[in-house]
């Protein structure tokens, strides 16, 4: 009987792969189907999901969609640009407050406030983060972690925007089905746009900023400019989520800056598989219902998803999606040494 020491695992890519990631040579419909199946499964799965559950869980799925967008933006910033942003709540808050205030003071309908707040909120949060963009790694993580907490303090201190009470009776979206499909469409579009984006030229620059920003500067490219662009793109997703949330609840308040919006997306990213973009989305759709089911236990859910987070980061750092992708795209077999 041979033990594992006598063997090694050999991995071979499937024949359709051509040298680099994301480039395939297809010779038959079967191979085409092989590539399309997981994508179609994801899209139709998301589109069918709301039909299968009752209206309470539909609300939960809406929130899960917001978390999925946040996880996507965290994954993009951390894995493709090298900016670990622990303050996802900051984007949600900026978007949510912008949309809510436009609706409350100017009386605009959600169909205008959500897109406008997405852009304006992203501009605001990018401008606020601008002085910190010269920082990297630990430093950026620390500063971005402080922003949502401090903005909350400022709102309470100045008693602006409704202070601790928040502003209620905002216009809500027409019905739950619209809610549901709006956020799912946003998630799907964001996901595929991001997947395309990171393989374009600009994505190459982003990744090289992560790997070696001095080399990027030496090539005559301004890293601050590209980091600003990256933060803007990431905050677009977060701000859309925030604007959507404040209209979905019909209420805005300092809980839009709550720690949940920063932590759960990170847990989802680590669990789903960092760097895959689709993993974080799946992670969010797994973790949010789980945490909702545990709502009765109060703080236990935070403890629980922190435990999941730590378990994955220590014992399975590649996450679910990296594992699945490897299994799907490669043949593995044991070989005698």
């Amino acid at each position: 009987m041979t033990t594992t020491e006598d063997k090694r695992q050999e991995r071979l890519d499937r024949g359709i792969k051509v040298r680099t990631e994301g480039l395939y040579a297809l010779t038959s419909w079967r191979e085409m189907g092989y590539l399309l199946a997981p994508r179609a499964f994801l899209i139709f799965g998301l589109l069918l999901l709301p039909l299968l559950v009752d209206s309470y869980w539909q609300r939960v799925l809406c929130i899960a969609g917001v978390y999925a967008l946040l996880a996507l933006s965290f994954d993009f910033l951390a894995e493709y640009v090298g900016l670990v942003c622990l303050g996802g709540a900051f984007f949600v808050g900026c978007g949510g407050y912008t949309a809510g205030l436009l609706n409350h003071y100017l009386g605009w309908s959600p169909f205008f406030t959500i897109p406008i707040a997405t852009v304006i909120g992203a501009v605001i949060s990018t401008l606020i983060l601008l002085p910190c963009l010269r920082l990297r790694g630990v430093y950026f993580a620390i500063v971005s972690f402080m922003f949502p907490l401090l903005i909350v303090n400022i709102i309470i201190a100045l008693n602006i925007f409704g202070g601790t009470e928040g502003i209620s009776a905002l216009a809500t979206l027409p019905n739950i089905w619209f809610d549901q499909y709006l956020i799912f469409a946003a998630v799907i579009i964001a996901l595929f746009v991001m997947r395309r984006l990171v393989n374009e030229d600009i994505g190459l620059i982003f990744r090289s900023i992560k790997d070696n920003d001095q080399a990027v500067r030496a090539s005559g490219i301004s890293i601050t400019l590209y980091k600003t662009k990256a933060v803007f793109i990431a905050s677009l997703m977060g701000c859309f989520g925030g604007a959507y949330l404040s209209h979905q609840y019909g209420w805005l308040g300092i809980s839009l800056f709550a720690m949940d919006f920063s932590i759960l997306p990170i847990a989802a990213t680590v669990m789903g598989g960092a760097g895959t973009l689709v993993g974080p989305v799946l992670g969010a759709f797994m973790l949010t219902p789980l945490s909702e089911a545990l709502r009765g236990f109060g703080q236990l859910r935070v403890v629980l998803y922190c435990l999941i987070l730590m378990g994955f980061i220590v014992y399975k750092p590649e996450g679910i999606m990296n594992y699945l992708q490897r299994k799907y795209h490669q043949f593995e077999h044991w070989k005698e040494v």
Binding site: G137, N153, I313
Partner: protein
């Protein structure tokens, strides 16, 4: 004027006490211990429980909880961070998750009859309950103890890192990890020791500072933010910088509070950080010359 000077000093020493543990760990082993605030709060609650539930002597309770906190620090390294060294993102996320487990775990209710530490009922007794009249104003003894304790901690740490073998090995790893390893200093052991000392320092800060107010789990986030703010302003990993920065922050806060009111405290905090980052990105006494070289 005198009271600004006095309260400014107390505030600054408070900042220094809070930050010294964090900056020690980061300076020695480049590990950002985001569980710092959680350990601070945990020690406060543990001491309270030992005194009120087990009726232990106050000093004994403090000693036991400090021991537990340093063991906890070692455990964080041995169980979690040792697998993640060199991956800054994972280090931050894992230690922050650990801290959150402690902080939110303290607020858990109804599991095994545990009531959860919620509300303003948890007050640690002060060491000496007295007020002293100095230069025409009343001063609590506890505030003087904070100043004395801060001084003692800094002096002890200085002596420890300059005259004991373990302390010297901590500094050696901080200066040049590879050279230190060649001379037989075990990097993992030193990192574990630094984390356990850092956690004990967080606990010490807690028992010195907390008698001034009540113990709440929410304070953990604030303490972490203060520690991070001091370290960023002083330059991460620089001990002198941390002390200088805590005086800058401490006085900036007291002066702004007396001029504009307490609500501006946090605005001053962010403002100072942003100003420092713009003009001197590596912090007041940061060793790195250029920001680009930073982690």
């Amino acid at each position: 004027m005198v009271d600004i000077l006095f309260y400014g000093t107390v505030n600054s020493v408070t900042f220094a006490l809070i930050a010294v543990g964090f900056t020690l760990v980061y300076g020695v082993s480049r590990l950002p211990n985001f569980a710092h605030g959680a350990i601070y709060v945990l020690v406060g609650f543990m001491t309270w429980s030992f005194v009120n539930d087990l009726n232990l002597n106050y000093l004994l309770a403090i000693l036991i909880s400090l021991c537990i906190s340093s063991l906890l620090g070692a455990a964080i390294y041995r169980l979690v961070l040792i697998r993640l060294r060199g991956l800054p993102t994972s280090e931050i996320i894992a230690s922050f998750a650990f801290g959150l487990i402690i902080l939110e775990g303290l607020r858990l209710q109804g599991i095994g009859g545990f009531k959860g530490f919620i509300g303003p009922f948890y007050v640690l007794p002060s060491f000496i309950d007295a007020k002293i009249r100095v230069a025409g104003m009343l001063i609590d003894a506890q505030r003087l103890i904070i100043i004395g304790g801060g001084l003692a901690v800094v002096i002890t740490l200085w002596l420890f890192t300059h005259y004991t073998k373990i302390g010297l090995s901590l500094r050696a790893i901080a200066q040049d990890e590879q050279a230190a390893m060649m001379l037989g200093v075990d990097s993992d052991r030193v990192a574990m020791i630094s984390l356990s000392i850092g956690s004990a320092l967080a606990g010490l800060a807690a028992v010195i500072i907390l008698p001034l107010g009540n113990v709440t789990a929410e304070a953990g986030y604030r303490v972490l933010i203060y520690a991070l703010a001091v370290c960023i302003i002083g330059g991460l990993g620089s001990w002198g910088g941390a002390i200088l920065a805590s005086f800058v922050l401490g006085f900036a806060m007291i002066v702004s509070t007396s001029l504009f009111g307490a609500v501006w405290e946090s605005v001053v905090l962010v403002g100072t950080i942003i100003l420092i980052l713009i003009f001197k990105p590596s912090g007041l006494l940061g060793k790195q010359k250029e920001l680009e070289e930073r982690v």
